[in-house]
């Protein structure tokens, strides 16, 4: 077993295990932490596939920013894993869901196994760097040339997301007006009411 294979196997075990743990945890904070572990393991796989830049992005942006946002929300809502989540679904329905998902996975595996994907190139960490494949320059070149318009459009998407998030998350107008009134001095309010 070569070093590449070893790294691959370890990463896969870590990624799959922590992904599984993520969904079985009752405490959301633990789930987030498991997801971060899973993502880091996936980042290793990225690097093995030659995507050095994206691997680092995955850790910095995903694990570093997005999941921290999750943590932030969980803490804001003060969720501790002891919330009332209602009664569990009946066993039949749970089993159905498992079976459907497993069927789906099996189908996809079958697709891969049955030669729909060309088994052309084997990979390893050693490949990276030598060809420049997946380097920052190459990704940037692609993004700013061929994918310039989609790239620019993502900025609009992000803007829309920001606006949407602000609109969704802000308090009701009523509350804001009330707080504004509170800031005014009582005598002013009284005068306004008279006028």
């Amino acid at each position: 077993m070569s070093l590449d294979t070893l790294i691959f196997v370890i990463s896969v075990i870590v990624a799959v295990f922590s992904a599984t743990m993520m969904i079985v945890q009752r405490n959301p904070i633990a789930s987030v932490l498991y997801l971060i572990v899973s993502l880091v393991a996936q980042a290793v796989l990225y690097v093995q596939l030659g995507a050095l830049f994206l691997g680092s992005i995955l850790i910095i942006v995903y694990a570093g920013a997005i999941l921290v946002l999750f943590l932030f929300i969980i803490m804001l809502l003060n969720l501790r894993g002891n919330e009332d989540l209602g009664e569990k679904s009946p066993l039949v329905s749970q089993a159905t869901k498992f079976i459907v998902s497993i069927l789906f996975v099996l189908e996809l595996v079958f697709v891969v196994r049955s030669g729909y994907v060309a088994e052309s190139i084997a990979t390893g960490v050693a490949d990276t760097g030598s060809t420049g494949f997946g380097s920052v320059e190459d990704v940037a070149l692609l993004l700013f040339t061929r994918y310039l318009y989609p790239f620019e459009l993502t900025s609009i998407l992000l803007l829309a997301a920001i606006v949407g998030a602000v609109v969704m998350a802000r308090r009701e107008n009523r509350d804001i007006q009330q707080s504004m009134f509170v800031e005014q001095t009582p005598s002013e309010t009284f005068k306004k009411g008279q006028g």
Partner: protein
Amino acid sequence: MSDYLYLIPLFPLIGFLLNGLLLGRLPRVVVNIIACLSVAAAFIISVLVFFELKALPPDVRVIEQTLFTWIPSGILQVNFGLLLDPLSAIMILVVTGVGLIIHIYSIGYIAHDPCFGRFFTYMNLFMFSMLTLVLADNFLFMFVGWEGVGLCSYLLIGFWYHKKSASDAGKKAFIVNRIGDFGFLIGMFIIFWEVGSLEFRVVMEQAPVVFIAGGSLITTICLLLFVGATGKSAQIPLYVWLPDAMEGPTPVSALIHAATMVTAGVYMIARTNVLYMLAPDALMVVAIVGAVTAFFAATIALTQNDIKRVLAYSTVSQLGYMFLACGVASFSAGIFHLMTHSFFKALLFLGAGSVIHAMSDEQDMRRMGGLGKHIKITYITMLVAALTISGIPGFSGFFSKDEILWKSFSSQHGHPIFWVVGFVTAGLTAFYMFRLIYMTFHGKERMDEETRQHIHESSKSMTIPLMVLAVLSVVGGWIGMPHIFGVSNFFEHWLEPVMAGGSYEPVSHALAAGGGDVGMEWGLMAASVALVLVSIYFARTFYKTKPQLATAWRKKMSGLHQVLLNKYYVDEFYGAVIVRPLIVFSLFLWKVVDVILIDGFVNGSALVYEGVSESLRRVQTGRLRSYATLFVFGVVILVAYFVMD
């Protein structure tokens, strides 16, 4: 200028769009100006293209303009094409000229109605449709105008739609017209089936080749087209809508139900004269229907008391004359009478409108009388019109009517019986017209005191059109003087290139050449003039000098009088024979076929779906996770499908 032919219908269309889209937002003055200017512009262009056409040599007097292809579908190629030839030139002059005068008159007439915007919108739409009808270069495009004028007629008859009788009359006009349109459409389809084209030029060129002269096919086509003409031009058996159409505003009666739209049938037959010349039997039917209608309507007009109804039956009668002319293959005489009739009948209607205006909306002649000294201009112009329609020599009606009478006698398709019917009708016409004049303008003043106080001459915008029309009624006929007056008949020569079926021409020339027949023509003319004078004398005796005589006669012939007063019970007859069975049948369709069968089927299928959905809606739990499960399940099936592939 002829390149701008399309502007003639376009201007009224623009007027219609402006007035229609800005309905209720424009001040009265602007609406009036838009409506009249658009028609005036069309009239000016019509005059210009007329003179341009006149400058061309007679045998090439055709201006065609194809705007664009409307229906390109296999061999069916229908264009929005305009055709200006001597016939349509006459028609656009009449339509825009009389239309303009009536538009100006309407300004004064409709001045007190809050719905003036709607009125002028419809009027302009009518002008557009009518001009489309006469300018179209193929049957289908003509049919567009044909239906358009029918629609406008419906809208304008029911203009005061809050009056039940008005909206009923509108519906009646529309439905009766539809029956005629049905015939027109079928005729059109057969023409297309046989000739493969709907263009007038192609059809007229091909007709002698495709159809066997006198064959049953061409006769069928002509009869079907004639059914359309009877609907639009109010001939027996479809004339019943026209008298009821008098519920509309009087300018509408003048424009649509006297001067222009109702003459569309005559125009259509003149336009397709080549086909009719190939079908002598159909011509015979046209002549018989025309003659019978002329006589029949004239007798009804004798006893009517509503001033507009008298004129309406008079219109039906005069249209009968036109069809008689067409039926004896004297199309130019028909068109000539169409033109003079549009002048004097428009004048009569507008005069009647002025009378009604003066009488505070009273239409019953029994409550009029002695108006002559109060409303002089109306009286004089109406008198001119009455003299014209009666056929007093020198007035236009004389020339056109005499032409028809002579042709019905002398043409090879004619027959002395036609002449006799026309001759008697001429006498009746003079009688009922002067009955109208004497009852309205002479004798005792039979209105109540309050109305009498309000009698007033109409405003300038109404009297000036009357005077213009009066002048036209007098001089309009001078362009078509008969040969025996020693002048060339300009009108007939003008239409000669269009009337390719002018085979009667040599015959009548031959007749005119022979000395005896000239004498005959003089004789017949004198006879009709004499009859007219006698009729006028009788009318004067009955309704002015000795009214008790009229009462005595009415008593003596009360049976006949009742029949005439009730219009031969035709409406009742139609009601019993056609409308009632139809109502019963419709009730059957409604109660049994529609409610039980169709509704049952529809409701039944709805019930089935309701039941199925009642159980299926359980799938819609509203739970996100069950939706997601179904979604994934769907993906599994899809992937399986593609993998199996």
